[in-house]
Symmetry: C2
Subunit: 301 residues, 2 copies
């Protein structure tokens, strides 16, 4: 097994993958148009923003384990990013987290207006499924239908949207470790799991391999979230590109508020190592995924 | 060919279909749950409301032409109603049409709150695709993938959401007949077309039959919208179950404001007859669809 400290090689791989996803999104998203052009602009603004594209990276790397055709993996990666972007646009709305800043720029409803932001989110959510269902995504309809079903499960009421509801409903209440773990498993974990599993679905991975990817993603997702809470508690808005300290301000329970800084850091490190162990059945092709597990706890934004 | 004036037989068929869809939705939608229970409640509130279920009716009747298994058709009908309901919840939001009343009851954001209404809409939109992609909907994955793709096209940026964007963007501007026809084709027509075509897809209809259903739905959808504008201009809020006269108040161009009452009525009647003619290749099995075309221009709410 190769080097698993995320160094320049990892970072270059992440950047390369982000560029490929950006250009696929640019090619897929609608443009121009008549009086609805504003909607297309808002969809593009919310997605073509030079983000890290971490979820798409996971999808591309998991697809690479099974020698999936690049264009196929890129389409799924783009669909995942549409889903992720819609969730950020809606979460930033005044009625939700009311955030003016996203990736260092005005959030969509500040750049455009609330109605346009709501509609752009709706359109991106819908577009994610359109991409997956199209024949170009995979020649086998069963695989396309599976991708749609699993993404819907991950994103819907019993996944990401359910997690956001719990998050909003529990503001000001004291969540315990079990409750906050469940919240994060739904709110951020489910889409990360889908990203990792999608490559296996595209590549007709064995049930064993799919299970390993799922377990990897589960631990990775939790480590990612604890790292996020640490960044929010310790971070600098300028580096984060979003408002730091907002969890404490909102009276939100986080892994940091429950565990404290020291134990939270430790827990994230344990989860990161555990995630890597789940990849033992894969050869060095999985090294970038292994490095990703280290990356999530060492990143500064 | 049988009777095509929508009388008690038609109305009873519509009610029977609405009850079947209501009970399918009730069985499919999530319930109970922990801290996210409020989300499930809002999803149920927005869908289980005793509506006419006109789009689901079209899906069920078009499926009947091809002897589609009832449960299969009901699942697609339920998915269509989830999609329709989400669009109403989001359209009613303060940042959009700002409507407090829906089907005679407080709209979702008034009954719950804005954040919950946004999330319930997101979850219903996602759930529509989940239902379609599940194996229970049709044994052939190609048909499930087609349904997902076509619903996404009908509902997304180049369909329903695009139409709502045009509607918002053109308030206070004078749309001509061409522009308003395009707006309505996207905003309400696309989902009505999907409803009529979905039955044909489930039943492996010939390209000819699919085309006839599409042409029928196109004219029906336009007639439906003109009738809606007439009801808004002439109607009574108590019968409508929503605020009447709001188009004029919002300075919106409608078919009525462009054509005037008399010509609008005439145009709706012409479209209704034209819709019926597209069904000529079907036998008396299509009689309820024929009556539906009359129904849309004679309804009072």
């Amino acid at each position: 097994m190769g080097e698993i400290v995320p160094g320049p090689v990892f970072e270059e791989a992440l950047r390369r993958s982000a560029r490929a996803v950006e250009s696929k999104l640019d090619a897929l998203l609608p443009r121009d148009g008549g009086p609805e052009a504003r909607l297309y602009e808002a969809m593009r603004y919310a997605t073509l923003n030079g983000g890290k594209r971490f979820r798409p990276f996971l999808a591309l790397e998991s697809a690479r384990l099974f020698d999936v055709r690049m264009d196929s993996a890129l389409r799924v990666a783009a669909a995942i990013e549409c889903m992720h972007s819609y969730s950020l646009v809606h979460d930033d709305l005044p009625a939700m987290d009311d955030d003016d800043l996203r990736r260092g720029l005005p959030s969509a409803h500040r750049k455009f207006d609330e109605a346009t932001a709501i509609l752009a989110g709706d359109a991106l959510l819908t577009f994610a499924f359109e991409i997956l269902a199209e024949e170009a995504t995979h020649e086998t309809p069963q695989i396309r239908a599976d991708l749609v079903r699993r993404l819907a499960e991950a994103a819907g009421a019993q996944g990401m949207v359910g997690g956001q509801m719990i998050d909003l409903a529990s503001q000001g209440t004291l969540l315990d470790m079990g409750a906050i773990t469940r919240l994060q498993r739904l709110k951020t974990g489910a889409l990360i799991v889908f990203a990792c599993v999608s490559g296996g679905l595209l590549g007709r991975a064995s049930p064993e391999a799919l299970h390993a990817l799922q377990a990897f993603a589960h631990d990775l997702g939790l480590a990612y979230q604890i790292a996020d809470d640490l960044l929010d508690a310790e971070g600098d808005s300028a580096i984060l590109g979003k408002t730091a300290g907002k969890d404490a301000k909102a009276g939100k329970a986080t892994f940091v508020s429950i565990l404290g800084l020291e134990r939270a850091r430790k827990q994230a490190a344990i989860l990161s190592e555990q995630a890597i162990q789940h990849l033992d059945l894969f050869d060095q092709k999985a090294d970038l995924l292994r490095q990703a597990a280290r990356f999530v706890i060492s990143r500064r934004n």
